[in-house]
């Protein structure tokens, strides 16, 4: 079942590359068909998936290189399924929004499909080495996509991306090898409790390696500088894919491997991780305010919003972990929407500079529908209720507050700042009198708008009915909560003694010492 998804994508990529005499339009159609089948197949997978089960489902296992401990082992659970769906959806949308006029189409479309393959494989892999291989697989196509189809400074951006991601890969590989070799195991299969047997010093070292590796991918400050450059230089579909799905590999890795394999070390580091999240959120937000390039603004906002995922992961309560998954999906949808819309504006007006664009809401000569969608997107990003950004952030904050009150409150400042920079953006670009730059814009076709409309509809739908994504992950995520519950326990005592005055003495003391989660919420 799961391999079929990967096979569909790979064979689509191979067909476009191999079939002789394909025109640009044909390649695009073929890629679209492939992505469509992959999306459908994801739906089929979801229908086979039983959300109430906690263990891995639809597992597949084939021995590969046994002497290395590498097996081809796939499986899906509530943590990976929503991200898998996001990947299939955004892959299709990225192909849809690439136009026919693109040069070297028979390289371009296979590369996008290969990225999809790599990401899907990484989400599905249940063997550390296999995860690493898929994780690597996604890197090369993206490098080429930036380096060949990018903007003016594409060489610089692509190289930077390559170097950063290579470091990330090495660090992750070192972490994985360390876990397996130090624990004396012979197989690289993902076993959550593998690292438990290691002395704590080694655990910290290995977790640190994973944090740096995935931290580059997320990206966390100060490992982030590849992201704005990559986004600015990459073409619109690639940007949407990069922000929408690829960054999620980092947070997925942190939750799955960091928290999953090192729960004890994680719970010790958690307060620092939460502080790291705060720094990322505030740094990203403040930097976004200072930007004048719309793409850079959205890129820095990505840095800020991915910080919420780290906050939720570090709190590691059942609610916050669930929230981290929803935040990943919601950020994927919202940032992809924003990048697509910025792309349309750039394509039509020739600039992304907020100081040069003005009055694009103008109904006759501007881009009114694109503007409306953009306002919807930025409001979703700023966490206005009714859209998925609100509920995901709300759950992040609610889930994390009981563990890290101060860090959570500081992260909430970030939502205020999001409103500031995105409002500045929409105010400058869409309000006011139409600027000269934006006179005589070419018409926007419905096919240009369609992807953004689909995503916007999803944003609103999931915002009104978050149950539709929550239900997939709920039971899986509850098993990820550190069983020792070391963090929850210590800090809950802290929070209780900090906030509750002596009049609560009538409570059962054991309840205060061992608060059941239901007690907090």
């Amino acid at each position: 079942m799961l391999s079929t998804l990967i096979l569909i994508l790979v064979s689509g990529a191979a067909l476009i590359g191999v079939l002789p005499g394909l025109s640009a339009a044909r390649s695009r159609q073929l890629a679209l068909v492939t992505a469509g089948i992959a999306l459908l197949w994801t739906v089929v997978l979801a229908s086979q998936f039983d959300p109430s089960m906690t263990e891995l489902q639809l597992q597949e296992s084939l021995p590969w290189i046994e002497s290395l401990g590498l097996t081809y082992k796939l499986g899906v659970d509530g943590l990976s399924l929503p991200l898998l769906a996001l990947n299939s959806l955004l892959g299709g949308i990225a192909i849809w929004s690439s136009d026919d006029s693109i040069h070297r189409p028979r390289l371009y479309y296979p590369l996008i499909l290969l990225i999809n393959t790599g990401v899907a494989g990484a989400f599905l892999a249940q063997n550390l080495l296999l995860f690493f291989l898929f994780y690597e697989l996604e890197l090369i196509p993206l490098y080429l996509l930036i380096a060949i189809w990018g903007g003016a400074r594409r060489g610089y951006a692509a190289t930077k991306f390559l170097v950063y991601t290579a470091v990330s890969d090495l660090s992750i590989l070192a972490g994985f090898l360390g876990v397996v070799w130090l624990s004396g195991s012979s197989s690289f299969d993902y076993q959550p409790l593998l690292a438990q047997s290691l002395p704590s010093g080694q655990q910290f070292l290995l977790l640190g390696a994973l944090l740096v590796g995935f931290g580059i991918k997320i990206p966390l400050v100060p490992f982030h500088t590849w992201l704005p450059d990559a986004h600015v230089e990459a073409s619109t579909p690639v940007s949407a894919l990069l922000a929408g799905v690829l960054l999620k590999l980092g947070t997925y890795g942190i939750v799955r491997f960091g928290l999953g394999m090192f729960p004890e070390a994680w719970s010790v580091l958690a307060p620092w991780l939460a502080i790291w999240a705060v720094i990322s959120v505030l740094y990203g937000s403040f930097n976004a305010i200072a930007q004048t390039d719309m793409k850079k603004m959205v890129a820095y906002s990505s840095i800020g919003h991915m910080g919420y995922v780290l906050l939720a992961a570090s709190a590691a309560t059942p609610l916050s972990l669930l929230a981290s998954v929803i935040q990943m999906v919601s950020h994927g949808l919202i940032s992809a929407t924003l990048f697509l819309l910025v792309g349309i504006i750039y394509e039509k007006s020739g600039t992304r500079d907020v100081t040069r664009l003005r009055g694009l809401l103008n109904p006759e000569r501007g881009l009114p529908l694109v503007g409306t969608l953009m306002i919807l997107g930025v409001m979703a990003s700023a966490g206005v209720p009714g859209m998925v950004g609100f509920i995901s952030e709300f759950l992040v904050f609610l889930g994390s507050f009981s563990v890290f009150p101060v860090q959570t409150l500081l992260c909430m400042v970030g939502t205020g700042l999001t409103a500031v920079y995105f409002l500045l953006l929409s105010n400058r670009v869409f309000f006011g009198r139409l600027s000269e730059q934006a006179l005589n814009l070419p018409p926007v076709l419905w096919s240009d708008r369609a992807p953004a409309i689909v995503l916007a509809a999803l944003i609103v739908m999931l915002g009104l009915q978050p149950r539709w994504i929550v239900r997939w992950s709920e039971s899986t995520v509850s098993t990820l909560v550190p069983t020792q519950a070391a963090i929850t326990q210590t800090s809950s005592i802290a929070i209780h003694s900090k906030f509750l005055n002596s009049s609560s003495n009538d409570r059962d003391p054991s309840e205060i010492l061992n608060p059941s989660p239901s007690n907090i919420h």
């Binding site: 400050v221 100060p222 982030h224 500088t225 740094y283 403040f286 930097n287 305010i289 200072a290 930007q291 309560t317 059942p318 609610l319 972990l321 669930l322 009055g359 809401l361 109904p363 009114p368 529908l369 409001m379 700023a382 966490g383 206005v384 209720p385 009714g386 609100f390 609610l398 507050f401 009981s402 009150p405 959570t408 409150l409 909430m412 400042v413 939502t415 205020g416 700042l417 409103a419 500031v420 409002l423 500045l424 105010n427 869409f430 309000f431 006011g432 978050p466 149950r467 929550v470 709920e474 995520v477 509850s478 906030f499 509750l500 005055n501 009049s503 609560s504 989660p517 907090i520 919420h521």
Partner: protein
Amino acid sequence: MTQFLLEAIWWVPCYGLIGAISTLPWALGLFRRTGPRPAAYLNLLMTTLAFLHGGFIFAATSDQEPQQQLFHWLKAADLDLSFALDISSVGLGAMELVTGLSLLAQLFALGYMEKDWALARFFALMGFFEGAMSGIALSNSLFLSYAFLEMLTLSTYLLVGFWYAQPLVVTAARDAFLTKRVGDVLLLMGVVALGSLAGSFNFPDLYQWAGTNPLAPTTAALLGLALIAGPIGKCAQFPLHLWLDEAMEGPNPASILRNSMVVACGAYILIKLQPILSLSLVAQTALIVIGTVTAIGASLVAIAQIDIKRALSHSTSAYLGLVFIAVGTHWTDFALLLLLTHAVAKALLFMSIGSVISTTHNQNLTEMGGLGPRMPATSTAFVIGAAGLIGLLPLGSFWALQRGIDHFWFSHPWLVGVVLLVNGLTALNLTRVFRLVFWGEPQQKTRRAPEAPWPLALPMVSLTVATLLIPVLMQHLSLLPDWIYLNWRGMVLLVISSCVGCGIGATIYLHKAWSRPLQRYWRMLQDLLGYDFYVERLYQLTVVLGVNLLSRIGAWLDRYLVDGVVNLFGFASIFTGESLKYSTSGRTQSYVLTILVGISLLCVLMTWSVW
């Protein structure tokens, strides 16, 4: 039938939202042939439905105990987010007021916005506005209220920014959103903290939790301050009050709702939160202080305004300040009553000046005059609205203010003074505006003004009648005090303060040349009040400067430090590579030399210990 409608009470907020969505084809320009009017009619129909539906329930449940409806929305992990709806006479009454005023305002808009090409968009936003407000009235859950409040922030932004091509509108919309957002984010902090600590978002559970007095004083104070921050922004209280003044750049029909109901929605949530706020003395004191500062400050500022809408919008802040004081002193009945009477009277005043603006195409008070005989219905509406707002004739606010004075008489005597002062200053301001607009000699822009056309006049006259009938309604709901328990001294003081205010307003020198006094001190005073005590300058120097500075520092750090280090590594590797390449010259001598030097260095190192 009743049961069915009662169970479907959650439709009421949805009507507005459905109306908003149904305008999309016209707003997007898909249906061009019909013009945008059908969208407006659809919205009016939806609002009428909401009004009738709510009215039916209101009548049917008026003699019943308050009920609560619970909808489970999201059950995730250990969290159960449910929406509680409050079916009580207060909540339903507030909802009726919202839908009723919205209906009138939309009717008014049909005439006022007649020539606007974006009529469909306007009505969509009004529907959204109304849906969010009736949701707040109905909600019995802090989470739901917060969500609606935030939607209100968004729709305010879009409504203020409706005429987005004008530069002032752009800044006004931005400031409205950001100012409210500051309050909302603080409120969100309070909501999250409260939800974490109390374990529920529904008000009955929260009250029960608050009853056990579970918080340490500092926490309670911080929580209380966070919770009142949202209403401070929403009700345009100091220091988050300037957005309302700027928001007057927006279309007038939206201003009608904004000055009457939107601000009241913030206060309504504050009233709902009152049992939690009473956990902390600091929060209550803050409420009283903020309320007092705003009430007096805004009343003074209103007097110096020459924009007709701004002159009235500042008095909205002032009255909401009184509501804050009432909540801070636990007199929520006074707060609710004042919200009701203020909303109706203020809506009428805004309709009246809306009709003035639409006839004269002018908002500058100093360019008006003599409209009274030319626009009888409009001037009657203004007079009735003004009378309904101050404590002179036994109309709505008279009884509300009287009740406030009655409450404060023994508990906080100095607050009686505040109420009287605000009432007097408002009377002064309204008399001044009346004289400038409707009295005196007509000027160029008012000379040929006709009475407002019927689409404006109909809702205006209806609301005039409604304002006159408010005391009857209060009598019906037994909100009027008994004759025996009347505080005569308070009433006399109230009437005196109004008379003094009106008297000063009627006699001060209002010549057109007055707009700039010659004496230096008067001029400074006028500037001080005219520029809102320079609070905007204060924003610029504190929050705006801080955020700007931090973002610049961040950008600098990012560019030169973080990215600089990365580029330095890149540069260093390229530089070393570039310089080392000269070593591969192809000349044997240099290679031999390199090998010799290398080997001798190696020998020296290896034999280091021997030496």
